[in-house]
Symmetry: D2
Subunit: 170 residues, 4 copies
C-alpha cells in the first residue's frame, strides 16, 4: 500500500498511516478473500454493544468510518481539517448478517469500488471467525468543510487508490 502519511521511521502498527495490508494469518482466521486488500482488527468493546448484548447497528458504521479514515490517509488524503478535502457521506447501504458479541474480535475491511471526479463509492465488511457479519457500500463526496465546496479527488490520491484497489472509474 502506498503510505504517504507516515514517516519512514514510524513503526507503530496502530498509527493512522500504518500499513493496512491484511496479514495472511487474519485472512485465515476470518476467511477474508483476495478481493480485499486493506483492513484492521478490532475488539467489540463495551461502548459498541447495546442492551441486547450485541454490537449496535451503528457500531459497525463507526468501525467502517475509522477504517475509511485510516485508508484515505494512507492513500495520501490530508488528515481531516476544516480547510482540506474531507469525505462526506451521501448514500449508505448496510446488510447485517450475524450478531457480534461483546469482546469478540472483528476484522474490518475497506476498499474503493468506484471513483468519480469528486466522489468515491467504497465497500466495507466486518468479519468474525464464524463468517461475515455485515457488508456495506457507501458513496462519499469530497468537500471542503469550511465552505461546503465539492472538490475533485486529488491526483496523487486517485493514483494511490487506482494502484491499490483498481476501482471502476466513472
Amino acid at each position: 500500500m502506498v503510505d504517504t502519511a507516515s514517516s519512514p521511521t514510524d513503526t507503530d502498527a496502530r498509527s493512522p498511516g500504518a500499513d493496512l495490508a491484511i496479514p495472511a494469518s487474519a485472512r485465515d482466521r476470518f476467511g477474508i478473500g483476495p478481493d480485499w486488500r486493506s483492513g484492521m482488527e478490532r475488539l467489540v468493546e463495551w461502548r459498541d454493544v447495546d442492551a441486547f448484548r450485541h454490537a449496535n447497528h451503528t457500531a459497525f458504521l463507526l468501525w467502517f468510518e475509522a477504517a475509511r479514515n485510516r485508508y484515505l490517509e494512507a492513500m495520501g488524503l490530508p488528515r481531516h481539517a476544516s480547510n482540506t478535502p474531507g469525505p462526506v457521506m451521501m448514500d449508505l447501504r448496510v446488510r447485517y448478517l450475524r450478531p457480534l458479541a461483546y469482546h469478540e474480535p472483528v476484522f474490518v475491511t475497506v476498499r474503493t469500488a468506484a471513483m468519480r471526479r469528486r466522489s468515491l463509492e467504497m465497500d466495507y465488511a466486518a468479519w468474525t471467525q464464524d463468517g461475515c457479519a455485515a457488508t456495506c457500500t457507501a458513496v462519499l463526496v469530497l468537500m471542503i468543510n469550511d465552505t461546503g465546496e465539492k472538490v475533485a479527488i486529488p491526483d496523487a490520491v486517485r493514483g494511490s487508490i487506482r494502484t491499490l484497489d483498481n476501482p471502476r472509474e466513472e
Copy 2:
C-alpha cells in the same frame, strides 16, 4: 395513535408511550406531508456532531432508532427486554441530503411501509426547517434476544400498525 403502552393518567409529553402524532405546527415548520403520521422533535446536540461541525451520519441512525422504539411501544410492543420480541436490524439504506448544524432543531418521522410475518420494513426521515435532511429505509426482524428465535409480529401490534400506517402486507 393507538397507545397501549402508557397508562391513562400519564400526561408526560416526553414519556415513551406519549402520542407521537405530528402537530400541525410542526408540519408547517418542517414541511412534513400527510404521508407521515408519527414523529418527534429533537435538538442536534453536541454529542451528535463530529469535528466537521455537522451531525455525524450515525447520529441520524440513533435518532431513527429512538423514534422506532417509541413508535413500537406505542403500537403495543413490550418494552425491550431479553425475553420479549425486539427489533433486530437486517438491512439499512440511508440517503443524506443536507447537513445538520449543532443546536439546529430536527423533526424525525417514522412509519411502517410493509409488514411480513416476522419482519417490518420501516421508513424514516429527518426534517430541518429548510427541507428534508435524510431519508432511510430499514428492514427489522422481530427476535427473542435470549434465544435468537425469530417470532411473528404479535396480532395486537399488527392491528395497531395497520390502523395507523396501512402498510403493504406481504
Copy 3:
C-alpha cells in the same frame, strides 16, 4: 431566566434558548428542591444504555453536557463556534447513586456554583421519580477553540448567571 439566545418569536419549547425553568409539576414528580432553577426532562434512550441494561456512566455526562450547553446559551454565551468562547472540561467529579433503566424518564438539573475570571464551577444532577440518580461537579474554563486562548467570562453572561444562580465569585 434571561434568554438572549432565542428570538422573541421563537416559541418552540425544544429550542436551545427556550426557558429551562423547572416546572412545578416536574419538581413534584422528581423531588427537585428550590436550590435548582434550571433543567430539562429526557428519556433514557437505547443509545444511553449498555449491555447491563442501565444507562452507561457516560450517558449521564452527555446529558449534563447537553444541559450545560443549553444553559450557557440561555445565559448569553454565543452558540459554540471555533472563534467564540466555549467551555472546556478541566475537572469532573461524579457520584452515581442509583441505576437508570431504558425508557425511564430522567430530569437533568444544572446550576453554576462558582465563577472565577475565566472558569465556572457547575453542578449537575439526574433525577428519577424514585430519587436522585447522580450528582456531578465540573470545572470548565472558557477558551477560544481556534487559538487555545483562555478568556474571561463575558460581562453579560456573568450578569445573567449572577441573577439566576447567585454563585460564589472567587
Copy 4:
C-alpha cells in the same frame, strides 16, 4: 500478568485477555513510569472527537472503560454477563490536563489502587507523546447484574490483582 481469560494458543495481540504489559518502547514514547504496569495503545478516532476537534471528555472515559474491562478479564473476572459479577461505577474523578487531537496516538494505563471486600478503587491515565492528558480515579462495586446483588471480589481475581498491582487492602 496473570492471564486466565485467553487460551494458551491465542496469540492475537488484540484479544481481550492478551498481555496488557506496557512495552518498554511505549514507556519511552509516552513517558510512562514504573508505577503503571498495564495499558493499551489506541488512536484518537473520529468518533472520539467533538466539534472542538479534540477528544470529547467522555471519550477518555470510554477508553478507561475499555482498559478496565480488558484488565479485569486478564485478572480472571468472567467476561461481562448478566449473571456474573460485573463492575458498576459508583464514584468518578477526572482531571483533564491537555487536549487530544484527531488521529493522535494515546496510551491508556490502568491499575488497582485499593481493594475492599466488594469494591475496587482504580486509577487510569491517558498519555500523549507530549505528556499526560488526563488522570482518573474510579470506585467500582462488583454486582450481579440480574439481581443487583453486591458480591465479594472472587479470591482468584483478588490474588491476581494483589500480585500485579499490590493495592491497598481496606
